[in-house]
């Protein structure tokens, strides 16, 4: 059993790789939206940068922070970050809300969906997933409260303690707890989305209930799967960022753009790997578990509700 579950880890990577089309499109949408937002921001400063010798300060020693600060704070506030960036982020958020259904469907079937199929599925799950986002925000409230309690304990200890260290350690522990809780909440909602797609469940709360049961019974297995990929993502990001800032000469603008995009792509790729692994996990173990909950008399794992022949792991 352990061997098969660890196979899901690599199987998820394989599934995400085979269905990489569903990664490239969101990546490109993210890039294009951000590009337009950046273009709007840069329009105010473009001519200045292209015609002034002072812009050379952006091409030495990485760049001179003072040059950017001068562009931001100088006469006319040429470089001002307006609402474009937030607007593009919101559009991307809604795009992802629409796309997630298609992505999960593609992973569930392990097949390449046509564009029509992809967006049909996206539309099919859109409102369910929107409700899930609302529930997610509600679920994050207690996490915020726990964070606030931790901060207040830290403040209290800081006020009472002679040493500054206990309060700082409490703050650090609090941060780790928050991070852990956020990962658990995300995993819970990830599985709820998988259940919505796998079972065709329309009620978001039922998805969440079943997902919570699943998570409670299989916490070690699921969290280990999620955490390992998250850890790889953080590690990879750190390495890429290190290469970017340490080894790329300031004037190598094109290559630095490529590295920057690799940073984003790597992050998205590993998140998609998580989603693919969660789908595979559910196909291999979750459906049986869910069946046990709904029909306790039948202890045998059942096949996927749809397209059972597509289950990857044996």
């Amino acid at each position: 059993m352990t061997g098969e579950k660890s196979g899901i880890f690599t199987g998820g990577a394989g599934l995400a790789w085979r269905r990489q089309r569903v990664l490239w499109w969101p990546f490109l949408v993210n890039l294009v939206l951000a590009h337009f937002a950046a273009h709007a921001t840069m329009a105010r400063v473009e001519s200045v940068l292209n015609q002034s010798l002072a812009s050379e300060r952006l091409l030495v020693h990485g760049f001179h922070f003072s040059a950017i600060l001068e562009l931001m704070s100088g006469p006319g506030n040429r470089l001002s970050f307006g609402p474009e960036g937030f607007a593009s982020a919101f559009v991307f958020f809604f795009f992802m809300l629409l796309a997630t259904g298609g992505i999960l469907e593609s992973y569930w079937r392990d097949t390449t969906l046509t564009t029509t199929d992809f967006f049909q599925n996206g539309g099919k799950y859109f409102w369910r997933f929107l409700r899930l986002v609302i529930y997610l925000l509600i679920a994050l409230i207690p996490v915020g409260i726990i964070g606030a309690i931790g901060a207040s304990i830290s403040d209290h200890v800081d006020a009472k303690s002679i040493s500054p260290f206990p309060a700082v350690w409490i703050n650090l522990a609090n941060l780790l707890v928050i991070l852990l809780l956020m990962m658990i909440v995300r995993l819970w909602f990830d599985m709820a989305e998988v259940i919505a797609v796998a079972e065709g469940e329309r009620a978001a709360w039922r998805c969440l209930r079943d997902s919570a049961r699943l998570l409670r019974r299989n916490f070690g297995s699921l969290f280990w799967l999620y955490f390992r990929i998250s850890f790889l993502a953080w590690l990879g990001e750190a390495i890429l960022l290190h290469i970017w800032v340490r080894y790329l000469p300031a004037e190598r603008v094109g290559i630095s753009f490529v590295i920057a995009q690799l940073v984003v792509l790597f992050w998205m790729g590993l998140r998609w790997w998580q989603r693919a692994s969660e789908v595979l996990w559910y196909q291999a173990w979750g459906m049986a578990d869910t069946s046990q909950q709904t029909a306790p008399a039948d202890p045998q794992p059942s096949a996927p509700a749809r397209d059972p022949e597509l289950v990857v792991l044996r």
């Binding site: 993210n30 921001t41 015609q51 002034s52 020693h61 500054p164 260290f165 995300r186």
Partner: protein
Amino acid sequence: MRNWIAAVAAILCAAAMGSGSPARGSGTGTAKAHATIALAPQQSPPPGAAMTASGSSAKAPLSTRIVAYKIDAKLDPSTHTITATETLTYHNLTGQPQQEFPFHMYLNAFQPQSTFMTEQRIDSPEYEWKPEHLGSIRISSIEAEGMGDLSSTMHFIQPDDGNTQDQTVMQVKLPKPVAPGADVQFKIAFTDVMPVVVARTGYLRDFYMVGQWFPKVGVWWKGAWNCHQFHENTEFFADFGTFDVNVTLPQNEVVGAGGDLVSEKNNADGSKTLEFHSEDVHDFSWTASPSYTRVDDTWTGSAGTVQIHALISPGNMGTAQRYIDCVKGTLQKFDEWYGPYPYDRITLVDPPHGGLRAGGMEYPTLITLDTAWFMPKSVLGPELVTEHEFGHQYWYGMVATNEFEEAWLDEGINSYTEVKIMDALYGADKDVLNLPYGTMSEREMQRLGYTGAADLDPMTRFAWKFVNGNSYGGITYGKTATVLLTLEKIVGEDTMRKAIRTYFMKYRFTHPTGEDFLKTLEEVSGQNLRWYFDQAVSGTAILDYEVMDMHSDPLPWYPANGDEKGSSIGKNGFRNYVVVHRKGDFVMPVDLQVRFKNGEAVTEHWDGRDRWIRYIYDRDDKVVSAEIDPTHQVLLDRDEFNNSHTTLGDGKADRKLNYLCTFFDQWLGQILAWLT
């Protein structure tokens, strides 16, 4: 004071990675704090003792000693109070009889109705009063030797704003005047309640920074008492003299002070009493904490050996050597460039985690610094604050200008010398941040401070009358430094250094004015600089030049007779036009460098008096760039980006910034997408 540097550094340090630091000194010794350790007793006389102000009263005074304070203070950590008696001998050198004497009572600033707190609320409306912010100084008795009790004459005055609730200046009246040349001795008993550190002074956990803590007499200056209230944006002004201070406190406390330790004895009740002496200074502060780790070092300069005592708070030992390296480098540069450091000690106080408000402050021979845990070497916040606060030993400590009325003379000149010394010690382009992906220089940081508030207040405005703290900081620190850096272009760097040295040597241990400083600059440079000072120092005019137009026209621009195809157009090269525009009202001569496609460069000099000037060049090639101030010395120019125009721009800078914006916008999207 320099808290904002550390704030900037703290924000940026999270993204930082390590790189170089200057060479280390030698002779460092570390001692973990324990009950018997305090600063080393009086040092042996250094070479050049005649120039040295130390504990020995045998040496010739360096200053005109007007005051002599003897204070016995006892700290009670359980109530955060200090009970003390003070004997002040005032030597009347005012040239006239004196009957009324004002005293600073600065701990009373930490009360909600004070002028200090009122101004704090104007600048920071979100500031909330907390009971632990309360500080006070209460006099239980005051008398004058031979004249009896003065308590009935004691009353608070508010010379600056008339806020009757403010109790930061107290005045007493003697029954009879003190004759010119005579002494009067005040005997005062008082109690301090220390606040949690709000500004410069107070306690935090077991840490005490005790500054502005005793009744301090005002200064007779320009024919009147000068004794201002405590304001948010002002610091201090006092007369030189001697201090003999006994501090009694628990035996486990590690103590540092702005004086030499003369003796130390343990008392039967578990306390200890430390006796300090200091002379030719105008203030006395001290600090105590059982959690300090002491690191000692020495530096020898032209006036002898200086003992460096660093008191490091828990978690900050990683920065200790950085503080010491920086202070040694700074001592060396000040000694070489501006004049000798005559004291035999400097105490570096590193406030504990969370005690930033006690950091970045100067007192005579004692400075408070600040850092953060895990501070990367590439963020030079600790070095900046160390250099800056040590610089105040010269500009405030010895050249004791009136910080209330002419703050630019200490903070501003100090910011200028800070730029020069940080550049020399850590590299001109990277002496604030030296990260792999970006750098920042001290001179640019000062300039940005100035450009953020360029035309709001003149440098000469009284410190508490600036429109807000941002303008006070930007003008007093940033603009003054930028004005003096720009002045280097007019008089030359070497002349500036010589002038600053002359000013220091001439006015140390006195109270010079802005006019004294400006006159020194003119005398040393041999130039009439009033045109510059009137605009830069006393005025608020903006200095901003731009290349308004740059283009090339073919010669001839029309076809010759019979040349129907127009092939004769441009046969004789090009007529190139460059127009320089003075956008601001500040008039300053500037250089203009014009470059042509064939590599030829022409440098013009324009007096800048008219609003604009057009240069015309007939050449075989087109003009490719025009740059005002090509040596980048006119830092007062508010907008560097409009100082040049080029046709050779390859768009790289634009693309680089564009890609960075795209990257950040992408991540904004990724963060929101985490919710889906």
